[in-house]
Amino acid sequence: MASGVKPRVKVPKTAAAGETITIKTLISHKMESGQRKDSDGNPIPRSIINRFTTDFNGENVVDVALEPAISTNPYFQFDAVVPEAGDFKFTWYDDDGSVYEETKSIKIG
């Protein structure tokens, strides 16, 4: 498990049924690209978040495949249709096998 990895997401608390909302996500992760060398000249192995998904009540909103060219502390902004009240589930997959999750609920109102 990479250390100090912390997700952060911004989802409105309420929406009208069928409304489109903007979602912003960030996760603190070094995104070691595999291009850097250490002080002895040895390549530092790649270690990144390689996939990010967002689902709402089990249905997919977006599925992102990340390469090392995504900056440290990967940031994504996208939108979603909110058909009903429910939970957004955010999942980040790390090269090292770790999985990080965050859930945000939204009400209709």
Partner: protein, 285 residues
């Protein structure tokens, strides 16, 4: 490494020429409001003791539109995730006395106004203290906890948290009374040329602000925005870490973070920004 005198001078001249030859681009006229709520003063009349400037500008005003936008919203600002991490540490007991920061200070909002007046003279300790020094004093004596590394992640995250609750308030460090001799020491450092490039802070940040150094828009080197998330290293940077880098860039033996020299310099540089709003944690190049 000993270079012949003439070569050193040639380099210094070339460096100065690079700076001078760049386009003279004044800071932009953009306004900074964070979260549509915190109005920031990014331009003020220069304090009386800053004789060679008429106006002081925040570093925010020298950055590209995209960089500026990153600071205008607490979600867009990548530094804020580290402020959140520090908020968790704030509430976590650490050390032999079983205290957390919250045990004495309750909510971090109670420290509103603190960042704006630091570095400052501490009567009981008989010294000028930076925020980092004060935090370590609290940890050691009130919490019985290990001191944090001066420029380490834990410390810089915490200074970012404490700074964030003072955002919008004008910087107002005291330069008189018991702090005066340290302030004068800092002023002397500011104007002393160092390194193989023989550059002082003033050469770039007072004489040449607004010009381009290579493709960088030179700022006045104000620290009202510290700690700052630099795009260059994608992390929070403390004042002394930045000073260390700047001195190293003149090709000099740099000073140590936490040293009296840097504390003096921080007090002086902070005072040059008296009147600008606390922006930390900000976003810079």
């Amino acid at each position: 490494m000993n270079r012949p005198q003439t070569l050193t001078r040639a380099i210094a001249f070339a460096a100065a020429a690079c700076v001078a030859a760049g386009a003279n681009a004044e800071p932009d006229t953009d306004q900074l409001v964070v979260n549509e709520e915190i109005e920031m003063i990014t331009e003020a009349a220069a304090p009386a003791h800053t004789e060679n400037l008429s106006t002081v500008y925040s570093g925010w005003r020298f950055r590209a539109d995209e960089t500026q936008a990153l600071q205008m919203d607490d979600f867009e600002n990548p530094a804020m995730i580290f402020v959140e991490a520090a908020a968790e540490v704030w509430n976590t007991a650490d050390g032999t006395k079983g205290n957390s920061c919250a045990s004495c200070h309750e909510d971090v909002e109670s420290l509103r106004g603190v960042r704006a007046v630091y570095p400052k003279w501490n009567e009981a300790a008989g010294e000028v203290r930076t925020l980092e020094m004060q935090i370590n004093d609290c940890r050691e004596n009130q919490m019985g906890a290990d001191k944090w590394k001066y420029t380490g992640g834990d410390m810089t995250n915490m200074t970012a948290l404490i700074s964030s609750v003072s955002r919008g308030m004008p910087v107002n460090v005291a330069i008189d009374g018991p702090a005066q001799s340290m302030w004068e020491q800092g002023k002397e450092l500011y104007y002393t040329r160092t390194g193989q490039l023989e550059l002082s802070c003033a050469n770039c940040h007072e004489d040449s602000y607004g010009m381009m150094i290579r493709a960088d828009h030179l700022s006045q080197g104000q620290i009202n925005g510290f700690p700052t998330y630099r795009l260059k290293n994608t992390k929070l940077n403390s004042v002394h870490a930045r000073f260390k880098g700047c001195v190293r860039d003149t090709r000099a033996e740099t000073f140590k973070p936490g040293s009296a020299d840097f504390v003096a310099l921080e007090l002086y540089v902070a005072s040059r920004g008296n009147g600008l709003s606390v922006e930390g944690p900000s976003v810079r190049n």
